[in-house]
Symmetry: C2
DNA sequence: GCCATTTTGGCAACCGATTGACAAACGTGA
DNA sequence: TCACGTTTGTCAATCGGTTGCCAAAATGGC
């Protein structure tokens, strides 16, 4: 063995290198550019040669090198998705929808999570943006200007948020709320409470406004009760406030709050839905684990993810990048056991 | 305007192109290779020039083009993760762990889901493999040979599965099961039932073996009851079999089965845990939504994802690619309300 | 002040695929 | 058979960053 023996290097990388169009060209006895054309511009090359090239490509198990293509075309065929918390069940379906839509168009989904401040989010976005063709922000805490700044580099779509000049995907909360209020009105309820989400949450305000409008239309009363955090424990802590509110039905900002509240009430021997009806928002995974099952106003999260990915793709195809599409995403009421007739006074 | 005016092209791509090292070189008055060295080989360049270049890079908001780097180095700084079902709560934490570990090392996580056959999985893997440095298979239905074939191209790590010559991440089920059986023995139970998972599930067999061993050690009886599918509905359907099994405690293959079973039993006015104790596996999101809360044998899924990503990275660093590391991942019992003393006969 | 040594920066090739420009080969009609 | 138009395949440049090699410049010793 000579001193050039690269045994150690071999140990580092014992894999067979991927085939290139040059390998195919050699095997098929043509020029590499002919190979490229045969693979990407069908018809440009004679059928005979094309077949020979395809055969060689198959034999070598050829796959185009995405980096090489990206370098030349400037397109990575990749969409980035940034969420605050991967384990938040609301995002599972968004991720799924985006991934599905991306894969459908032969794009790949890149996923990143930021668990901290807006600073971390910006850092994550900056890290991702050079390697993707577009960016979906599912829970952005960034300032509008920061988001617009990102959009100057690559197409950006936001979900559950409205930012001027940026395409945004927002579910229309009204239909689901209308169904819920109609449902409650039909059960005889006349006074309902809304356990609100975080003060700064745009979504929570939207939900409250929609509830206000719907209850007014039905001639019902509605009160808003502030909560600490949108988690189960905070929901439990809301029990006294809910009981003293005089409401016979409660809509919580999200299912976690609703479930916590329901558990606490049941623990205090308050019957659900016998004494009080409870509804949540989002229809998360596990909303049917409770006894009774939680009635919830669900959003089409999967579709939101799909539309977001589709939004990126259409911007890449030259569409304007400031369209707001609510209409297509309609919330709806998912009936389970936690709502029932207003108790006799 | 001449007929060369490219107004439409501009409309397609109105974004400012990213700065390159050539832009920096021009601004700093040096050669592009000097820029490259200043940025990637600190010390190779005089401090004065280096500073000038860094200033120029900052001014132009420079970010290295990943495609260009990948083309030359062969490394994309990307890890692929393929799961069967993104919305399966068992995977959330795996995804999170893998993403966190990847981001920590300045790698990016690429996520893909296959919802169909092994054929789809192979297609997905093939689609991903050219654009990643390594592949994590979290729920592979592929044959061992197929997996080894993928591993010839890029580093591969499997989770919750053992494949010869492939690095695999498997949690050690014994500690959690031992804790559970000890817990049940302490409560006076002497006969327990295991509601099994899918016939072909390697994990389900492991769990059953571990339960058999632990019950034998404690002088308890154990019976295995086959189920249809590892979902809630199938759990409900198991109620009659469980009731006639004579067992006073049931361990289900996973939490969904356990929750379904518990709901059905409660619906039949069987008290949990008064008449029968129920345990699940996985400690999924929502296991605390039930009343009573579900006692479950949990696995450190986040860590599994982290170790898988770390496994890819260490193979890339030259480590052998056939290490099986169970030891580090230890299951443990999460106590909630669904287990209690054996009822008086 | 001169030579030897080290430091510093530039040149050019390279990674793999794509594409405009062009030449070779082919077919057709007169 | 020749001129012409069309089809088919080749050449070469390009994307942006990296790196081996070399020359110029700076440094140090005497």
């Amino acid at each position: 063995m000579s001193e050039n023996d690269r045994g150690t290097v071999n140990a580092v990388s014992p894999r067979k290198p991927a085939a290139t169009i040059y390998d195919i060209a050699q095997l098929a006895g043509v020029n590499a550019s002919t190979v490229s054309r045969a693979l990407s511009t069908p018809g440009r090359i004679s059928a005979k040669t094309e077949q020979k090239i395809h055969a060689a490509a198959k034999e070598l198990n050829y796959r185009v090198n995405p980096a090489a293509r990206a370098l030349l075309t400037g397109r990575t065929r990749t969409i980035g998705l940034i969420v605050a918390d991967i384990t938040n069940p609301v995002f599972f379906d968004i991720v799924r929808g985006a991934e599905r839509e991306a894969a459908e168009h032969d794009y790949t989904l890149v996923l990143a999570e930021f668990r901290e401040s807006a600073e971390t989010e910006m850092f994550t976005a900056r890290r991702l943006i050079p390697s993707v063709d577009g960016l979906i922000l599912a829970t952005s805490r960034l300032e509008p200007d920061e988001i617009r700044g990102l959009a100057e580099e690559k197409p950006v779509v936001v979900i559950n948020r409205e930012v001027e000049d940026i395409t945004s995907i927002v579910a229309d909360v009204a239909p689901g709320v209308d169904q819920a209020i109609t449902h409650l009105a039909g059960l005889g309820h006349t006074r309902i409470a809304y356990v609100a989400g975080p003060q700064r949450s745009w979504v929570s305000h939207k939900r409250w406004e929609s509830i206000l409008a719907a209850t007014a239309r039905s001639g019902m009363e509605a009160v808003e009760l502030p909560s600490e955090q949108p988690v189960m424990q905070a929901g439990r802590a809301m029990a006294p406030a809910v009981l003293s509110s005089g409401a016979t039905a409660v809509i919580a900002y999200n299912d976690l709050l609703a479930i916590g509240l329901m558990q606490e009430l049941i623990g205090r021997s308050v019957s659900v839905p016998g004494d009080i009806s409870i509804l949540g928002f989002d229809n998360i995974f596990g909303a049917d684990f409770t006894t009774p099952g939680l009635t919830s106003i669900g959003s089409p999260h999967t579709e939101a993810g799909m539309y977001a990915a589709r939004g990126i793709l259409s911007i890449l195809d030259g569409a304007p990048s400031d369209q707001t599409s609510h209409e297509a995403l309609v919330t709806s009421l998912v009936l389970r056991g936690s709502t029932g007739p207003r108790p006799a006074v």
